[in-house]
């Protein structure tokens, strides 16, 4: 993996921290305005009553829970790239890990707001936290929503720390280059890092432990989010496939988000020397694999439902396949399966532009998938008299748009204060441990897996 020499790396990757152009202010101002609009919308919902949303009997979850699952899903990008690729020592991961970890942290933060946004009485959200109260009431640990609370907080803490630890040496570089107040802030953030072998070893061990710990947490988080659905006796919800299905879908949408972020960074921060087409190709291949896996899970779910022919389930089945939700359903299939297969499966199309188009399609498709899991089922439970249709209202649509704006805003602000590519990891790639130097073409006895 070729990349520029040491000083050049420092210069290129610290440039966004030390210089700002007018384009940055535009990139921040527009999303900030959208986020503010979203905040005002939500406050109007709290003030005027939940009724201004589109939620109704019996479809009590709509856009908000869709967004919740969608954003928590996107947060699985970082874990896959960062943790798994670190553990299998894939060298091409080095410029990509921090971009991915940042997506994880911010997507989690945005997703974690939705359990509060969609509450009827959000000012009481703190009751989900286990603390001894005068009411002698603790949270119900049997409830999937309390599992969500624990899981998302654990994952957020873990991801934040997993993001922060490798930034410490880069904060040290920034500290040594900056002046004035920024020097002091970076100095605090760098925790007095010097770069002795002792510190490097401890850091790398800690990162390894975190990588191994964060993978089961990530799998558990989206499984627990899927439990929000599979624990309720709703037709086409109460299925054991939801756990793996959701995790696979999460990784799928996470890779798509990562590809888009990388493409944007490459263009806006002029990182062509660091993010090569091969990075996009490799991630594009992963996107293809996840698209196939997604198709496998959908096929599984629907074939088993079709064979079961249970009246309540088949009502929901036909709703998505043939009736009112059919346009959304088939759009989802094209976006999630057909498009990635064509664009990522045919080598000629597996370019950066192809990756961008496929990723945008996947994000649209995965958002639709969450929506189509939630709304048709809730609208068609067991008693036909109580079927209902859901129509989203402006407040929900504005808040949905605001979350995308929030992601762009947070990402832009982050890349302004922290180098978006891990500098020391790039440089460390030139100094591999001695026992890894034999090239992959040489035979290794089985059992010599190096972690």
């Amino acid at each position: 993996m070729s990349h520029p020499p040491h000083q050049q790396i420092n210069r290129d990757l610290l440039r966004p921290l030390l210089q700002t152009s007018w384009r940055f202010y535009v990139l921040v101002a527009l999303p900030a305005a959208m986020v503010l609009t979203g905040l005002i919308s939500w406050l109007s919902q709290v003030t005027f009553g939940f009724g201004i949303s589109g939620i109704r009997w019996p479809v009590y979850w709509g856009f908000y829970v869709t967004n919740f699952v969608f954003w928590i899903g996107i947060s699985h990008a970082g874990t896959l790239i960062s943790a798994i690729l670190r553990l299998v020592n894939a060298g091409w991961r080095r410029p990509v890990t921090r971009c991915a970890e940042v997506i994880t942290v911010f997507a989690l933060m945005i997703g974690a707001m939705f359990p509060i946004i969609h509450l009827g009485r959000p000012w009481l959200a703190f009751w989900l936290f286990p603390y001894p109260s005068e009411r002698l009431i603790w949270p119900n640990f049997r409830s999937p929503l309390v599992w969500d609370f624990f899981a998302i907080n654990t994952y957020l803490t873990g991801s934040l720390l997993f993001l922060y630890l490798p930034i410490i040496p880069d904060f040290a570089v920034a500290r040594d280059r900056a002046t004035g107040l920024r020097r002091r802030i970076y100095g605090v953030l760098a925790l007095g890092w010097r770069g002795t072998p002792k510190q490097w070893h401890r850091l790398e061990t800690a990162m390894q432990i975190m990588a191994i710990a964060i993978i089961p947490v990530a799998v558990s988080v989206h499984t627990i989010v899927s439990f929000d659905f599979s624990m309720a006796p709703v037709p086409m919800w109460q299925t054991t496939i939801f756990g793996p299905y959701f995790v696979a879908g999460a990784i799928f949408s996470g890779i798509a988000a990562l590809l888009l972020a990388m493409a944007a960074l490459r263009r806006l921060l002029h990182l062509q020397a660091y993010l090569h087409p091969v990075h996009f190709e490799n991630l594009g291949k992963l996107l293809l694999v996840m698209a196939l896996l997604w198709g496998y899970f959908v096929f599984n779910e629907r074939l088993v439902t079709y064979y079961g022919n249970e009246p309540a389930e088949m009502t929901v089945f036909w709703q998505t396949q043939r009736e009112s939700y059919a346009p959304l359903y088939w759009t989802m299939v094209v976006c999630n399966f057909v498009l990635p297969l064509i664009l990522m499966g045919i080598r000629r199309f597996r370019t950066i532009t192809g990756c961008i188009i496929a990723s945008i399609g996947v994000l649209i498709g995965m958002w639709l998938e969450r929506f189509l899991i939630i709304v048709p089922s809730l609208g068609h439970k067991y008693l036909p008299y109580s079927f209902g249709t859901y129509r989203p209202q402006p407040v929900e649509m504005i808040i949905t748009a605001a979350t995308f704006a929030a992601m762009i805003l947070l990402y832009a602000l982050f890349s302004k204060v922290v180098p978006i590519i891990s500098m020391w990891e790039l440089k460390a790639g030139d100094h591999p441990p001695a026992d890894l130097i034999p090239p992959a073409t040489e035979e290794h006895p089985i059992g010599e897996l190096r972690l």
Binding site: P130, D176, R194, Q199, M210, K427, H431
Partner: protein, 166 residues
């Protein structure tokens, strides 16, 4: 003097400097090395390798597991409420809480262990910003005044070094 050190442009020169310092009678613990990235293809990059972070992580995980089990057991048994006909302590759902807090304990213990064992958060010893520019620093902190001459000679013998003192 607080410190005597040399800045070298590549790992081979730094390795030479370290070897000469050892030949001059210093132990590994007395030699300070600083790099801008881990250099595992050189021997000096392997000093101080052994650490106990794995045990710390496991310990933290066990603490988390105990805390979660205590939290769920004590709260659910002290205030038993019938929900959906489930038993008072339903271990299947509680396993999820226990798992999450185990992992949280392991993660937090790892980070705290890192901060403590790597000496982060407090400025220990000397530092030169040129390290982050790519130079490798090899030197001695608070050198014995009698041995300064020998140490300086050792540092100068490695090629391309710039010797500095603090």
């Amino acid at each position: 003097m607080r410190a005597l050190y040399g800045l070298y442009a590549d790992g081979a020169a730094a390795q030479q400097a370290v070897n000469r310092l050892r030949a001059a009678g210093l132990t590994d613990g007395q030699i300070t090395i600083m790099t801008a990235q881990p250099m595992e293809d050189f021997e000096f990059g392997h000093i101080d390798r052994k650490n106990r972070l794995w045990w710390v992580a496991c310990g933290g995980g066990l603490l988390g597991m105990a805390a979660a089990f205590g939290l769920t057991w004590l709260t659910e048994m002290s205030w038993p409420i019938d929900v959906g006909g489930l038993p008072t302590y339903a271990w299947w759902p509680n396993l999820i809480i226990i798992f999450e807090m185990t992992m949280l304990g392991a993660i937090l213990a790892t980070v705290i262990g890192l901060v403590v064992t790597a000496g982060l958060g407090r400025r220990a010893g000397f530092y030169d910003p040129e390290v982050t520019d790519g130079s490798i620093l090899v030197g001695v902190e608070n050198p014995d005044p009698d041995k300064v001459k020998d140490l300086q000679a050792a540092l100068e013998s490695a090629p391309g070094g710039r010797i500095k003192t603090l």
